[in-house]
């Protein structure tokens, strides 16, 4: 019974993390794209004149999509048409089951491993589920009964077949190095050091495998430069062309959920997951008081710095708009000052005298934070790449997949196997 509750809590954690990140990522995508292109980006939606730098827009979008008319094509395949968005979303969410977001958390004396399902064939599960997502896209393309959606579906299918292979081959190298299919083992193995000073991260022991994997993940998530299934400029919107209202919103959210999956996979398999480099868990627990104190001081210092930037802007733009928007920088600065005050208030509790129970908690929370930070960074990488690179042409995509990535993946596997046999 208690294990079921544990698992439900972990599922809830991931669900909240993903849904929160989806909102933040949509904001990051729009704002990041704008700043990269020298624009200001969305800044109109507001709550009582406070715009939160465009963060209100995703909420406004949700309400807009909820109240929109659900236009459906007359000659669709009803069952498949209704099933496809749910399939994409479900598959996107179910990959998280095997991704560990921390080592363990001690709750009332019990050690709870921080992974929803610690499968012994975790990596195979990831590969299987990742390719299932394409079913949703293909079904959406086919059931819409439209040649553009159909082309999008075909492209998704062929792209998946081409890149699934190099993705699998890249992961084979990783399996050889860590000699396990269990993802928790792989992450635990990445806490060691190689050559005495480098963290034994996947990217360090498998640099070529990492490049192969990250490109394959980009292709699997249908993000630029591999977004051929939806390629707006060629086939209108590809597979989700015939969807509107909340069904479209599901596809849209699934794309971002897939991005978070991809980012979590890259972070877990190649960047040490929840491991903090040069700071293994026993070390954190031994010096928990010191680390916590330094962290609180650091948070206070950084938030005061950000608050200062906000206040400087408030001074500079005094009375620029002549309404509630003038108060925004002051509000932002005040918020960061509050964070700093909270961090400094934590110092009053004498964090340097923390006990062993507290040390355990500190280590767990730090590792979860490290994991989330890595996921956010790689999710940002997806956005960053999208607004940097143009889309591949279809033949270029196929040539890269079959003529370059497949042989490179095989070579990587052979070399890794030879090195592992010799060492």
């Amino acid at each position: 019974m208690i294990i079921v509750l544990d698992t439900l809590a972990k599922i809830l954690f991931f669900f909240v993390l993903i849904m929160g990140l989806v909102v933040v990522l949509i904001w990051m995508e729009r704002k990041g794209a704008a700043f990269i292109q020298d624009r200001t980006g969305p800044n109109r939606a507001s709550i009582g004149g406070v715009r939160l730098a465009g963060l209100v827009h995703p909420i406004a979008d949700v309400f807009k999509l909820l109240f929109k008319e659900d236009v459906t094509p007359a000659n669709r395949h009803k069952a498949l048409y209704n099933m496809a968005p749910w399939l994409v979303m479900t598959v996107a969410l179910s990959t998280y089951a095997v991704i560990p977001f921390g080592d363990h958390l001690t709750v009332a004396g019990r050690k709870v491993p921080l992974v929803a399902a610690d499968l012994s064939v975790g990596l195979l599960y990831v590969l299987a589920i990742a390719s299932l997502a394409t079913y949703g896209v293909v079904l959406a393309g086919w059931s819409g009964n439209n040649k553009f959606t159909f082309l999008g579906g075909i492209r998704a299918a062929s792209q998946m077949i081409s890149y699934e292979i190099s993705m699998g081959l890249a992961l084979m190298g990783l399996i050889l190095v860590f000699s396990s299919l269990r993802i928790t083992d792989i992450v635990a193995g990445q806490g060691d050091l190689v050559l005495g000073f480098l963290p034994k991260w996947g990217v360090v022991v498998q640099p070529l495998g990492f490049i192969l994997f990250i490109v394959a993940v980009f292709a699997e998530t249908n993000r630029n430069p591999f977004d051929l299934p939806e390629a707006d400029s060629e086939i209108v919107a590809g597979f989700h062309l015939e969807y509107s209202s909340m069904k479209f919103a599901l596809f849209f959210m699934a794309e971002y959920a897939h991005m978070v999956v991809g980012a979590a996979l890259i972070a877990t398999l190649y960047f040490g997951g929840y491991q903090i480099p040069w700071l293994p868990r026993p070390l954190i627990e031994a010096h928990a008081g010191l680390i916590l104190t330094l962290k609180l001081i650091g948070v206070a210092a950084v938030s005061l710095l950000i608050a200062m930037l906000f206040f400087r802007r408030a001074q500079k733009e005094k009375g620029k708009f002549g309404d509630a928007r003038d108060r925004e920088p002051v509000l932002g600065g005040g918020l960061w000052v509050l964070v700093a005050v909270a961090a400094l208030a934590g110092l009053v509790l004498k964090p340097w005298t923390i006990g062993p129970v507290g040390a355990d908690l500190v280590a767990s929370v730090l590792q979860i934070m490290a994991f989330v930070a890595k996921v956010v960074f790689f999710a940002w990488l997806f956005i960053w790449v999208r607004w940097t690179l143009p889309r591949f042409r279809y033949d270029q995509l196929m040539r890269l997949g079959w003529k370059v990535w497949l042989p490179l993946g095989l070579a990587n596997l052979v070399v890794t196997a030879l090195v592992m046999a010799i060492v």
């Binding site: 700043f35 990269i36 020298d38 624009r39 708009f321 690179l389």
Partner: protein, 168 residues
Amino acid sequence: MSFEGLPKGSCDKKRSFRDSIYLWEVLRGLGVTAKHLVWNILHTDQMPTMQYPEEKRVYGDRFRGRHRLMQRQDGSPVCVACQMCSTYCPADCITIVGAEHPDPKIEKYPISFEIDLLRCVYCGLCEEACPCDAIRLDTGIYEIAADSREKFIVDKEFLLDNHTDGTL
């Protein structure tokens, strides 16, 4: 690789190894976008975007905005209904119905003077054609809005009124 129909030598440039593996160029591209991102975050006040309804672009004096009809001392239109403007108009958007003026010194005056603002291309040929400076495009109004097409056909009274704005 061969590209038919292209002049010889236009597409067979040899790529260097660094270019052909893409990765270096991809990283360079990421560097370019990151530079723009960071600079723009730190200099939001120097963004070229204009926050339109609050900030408006200032146009020159010769900017051709919505038309107006000039008035005589007594407030009646200067227009003598000579049809020059409607004849010149390339968009055919001016409709004038003329009638005899009670004052014998003035030949005619317009009973109705209608401009279809949706058809108008704001070329200014009407004010160039006008022999008595009766129509001008010097109001500077360019935000013209209405909720039906019929309202865009504006009449003589509207064009004579100097206190109107873009709302029709």
